[in-house]
């Protein structure tokens, strides 16, 4: 069975857990054979919401899903830039009924080991 572990943080705590610790956690999970993939995200103000209604694409700033909308799945995609990411997100079938939040990932910043 696979489980998705979603990480939630208030903006004040956004950088509280050091990247080194997160990297170590990933390495431990990898060593024990539990790790599939994981990545930190840029803050919510870098998010873009994509919806398709009656074949019309709508693109808006921010993570503003309707409050009654619940997280239903995820795709981790590799795109050239935000324009391509929006285009690909608009093809995800639930975009026609709900919304797809497109959020850039970032790299963990860990100082080089000696």
């Amino acid at each position: 069975m696979k489980y998705l572990c979603l990480v939630y943080l208030s903006p004040e705590e956004w950088n509280s857990a050091p990247d080194e610790a997160c990297m170590a956690c990933g390495n431990e999970l990898r060593a024990s054979g539990h790790f599939i993939t994981g990545t930190p995200l840029h803050p919510t103000h870098t998010a873009t919401t994509v919806r398709v209604r009656n074949g019309q694409l709508s693109v808006t700033d921010g993570p503003f899903a309707e409050t009654k909308e619940q997280l239903a799945g995820f795709y981790l995609i590799d795109a050239r830039d935000l324009n391509e990411a929006i285009h690909l997100a608009s093809k995800i079938p639930p975009a026609q009924f709900g919304s797809i939040e497109v959020r850039p990932t970032r790299e963990l910043v860990v100082s080089a080991q000696p």
């Binding site: 050239r80 830039d81 935000l82 324009n83 850039p104 970032r106």
Partner: protein, 418 residues
């Protein structure tokens, strides 16, 4: 170099800064891949010109010189900051701009493309609408944060925050610095034109405050539309430019010297700007003859009928009602319907207009819109239904935040017979 010659070079640099700095900035963003670095490089480049040109004379192509000086100084600075960075690995797109000698022939074209890239990036739909406006005025038009804040009556730190966040999003979410592909262009252009028109309207009829108009914002919007019309010509942008020129032609007559509002039918038409009207009307004719019927084109056509009429009474109101019918088909909205009702009043009298307006008000969508109540007040006043007119004026006054518009309504209310 003799002193007068030095003064001439300095004046030339000043002129270059005013005319070309936003273009150079746009190109530096592409070359350096970052807004902040480009801004810094722009200032470094002009500083270098101030140091060198008075002694060495003007280079053959000053713009190319400034672009390559800015780029060189920025890359040099980055090298010094992170000695072991992988800058060398980055594809260098700037090879076409040589550090010395004459510029390549396609430089002017490259510079113009960069300005358009900058417009589309600043108006990207993934940025919040108010951030699009602030960013466009800051980066494309070169307005200072304080000027934007004053124009929108918003505290400067709020505007600064919007700009910082928008730039962070461009960087972190990797919003590309490019003119959209042909298939995306219509949709993306729509969002650019929306920003331009919003800037114009804020300048033309400020939504609040003591001044009815802010000429500088409207001027920026017209400059932007001219730029887009030149770089990406098409009927939509021509129609929007026409619409703004036709409105702008009346600016001087829309208020008394002390800022009080003057309505269309009482304006001194001899003072309307004929040059702007001629340019706007010619654009409308060219757009309509291309069979393009968009929202801006129809609104521009309406503005052209007004602009070319000798007086309010001699306006072809039948034509105007017909154009509003067309506009209702292109972009139906309660506000378009309200304007149509006003035109019907001018054509058929206030009774006919009031029937339509009351049907609209019954729908509820215009309840919070001051102009709907102001129109009802005016129709009732003309019909001698003074009690109803009084109620409507009071509702309109309550909803009006802009000083001159509110005082206009108060004067009309006070003039009603008891």
């Amino acid at each position: 170099m003799p002193a007068p010659e030095i003064a001439r070079v300095r004046a030339e640099i000043d002129k270059l800064y005013r005319r070309e700095s936003r273009r150079i900035f746009a190109t530096l963003i592409r070359l350096l891949g970052d807004f902040e670095r480009a801004e810094e490089a722009l200032h470094d480049a002009f500083r270098a010109a101030m140091e060198k040109w008075p002694a060495e004379g003007l280079p053959q192509n000053p713009v190319a010189w400034l672009v390559s000086a800015g780029r060189f100084k920025s890359i040099d600075k980055q090298r010094r900051e992170k000695r072991f960075d992988h800058l060398e690995d980055r594809p260098d797109v700037s090879e076409s701009l040589s550090d010395s000698g004459p510029a390549p022939d396609d430089l002017p074209e490259l510079l113009e493309d960069d300005r358009l890239r900058l417009v589309f990036t600043c108006c990207h739909p993934a940025l919040a609408p108010d951030a699009q406006v602030a960013l466009t005025l800051r980066e494309v038009c070169g307005l200072a944060t304080e000027e934007i804040a004053a124009a929108f009556l918003t505290p400067a730190p709020t505007i600064a925050q919007r700009i910082v966040r928008a730039k962070a999003k461009i960087r972190d979410a990797n919003i590309p610095y490019q003119v959209p592909a042909r298939e995306e262009l219509p949709e993306r252009l729509e969002s650019v034109l929306r920003v331009v028109y919003l800037v114009f309207n804020e300048g033309y009829s400020a939504s609040s405050g003591e001044s009815a108009t802010r000429a500088d914002l409207s001027g920026e919007a017209i400059r932007l539309a001219r730029l887009i019309a030149e770089l990406a010509p098409g009927p939509e942008v021509q129609a929007l430019l026409a619409l703004m020129l036709l409105h702008e032609s009346r600016r001087e007559t829309r208020a008394t010297p002390d800022g009080e509002l003057i309505l269309l039918d009482e304006q001194d038409r001899s003072r309307w700007n004929r040059a702007l009207i001629d340019e706007g009307a010619a654009l409308v004719r060219s757009v309509l003859s291309s069979q393009h019927v968009g929202a801006y084109a129809v609104q521009a056509a309406i503005a052209a009928v007004h602009a070319e009429a000798p007086s309010a009474a001699d306006t072809d109101w039948n034509e105007i009602v017909g154009l509003y019918d067309l506009l209702m088909r292109v972009t139906p909205s309660p506000i378009v319907a309200l304007n149509r009702a006003v035109a019907v009043t001018m054509r058929d009298g206030p009774e006919a207009g009031l029937v339509q307006l009351d049907a609209l008000l019954a729908d509820g969508a215009l309840d919070g819109y001051q102009l709907a109540h102001a129109a009802r007040a005016d129709f009732c006043r003309r019909l001698g239904r003074n009690a109803e007119a009084r109620d409507a004026y009071q509702r309109a006054i309550k909803l009006t935040a802009q000083g001159p518009a509110r005082r206009f309504l108060e004067r009309r209310l006070a003039a009603l017979p008891a």
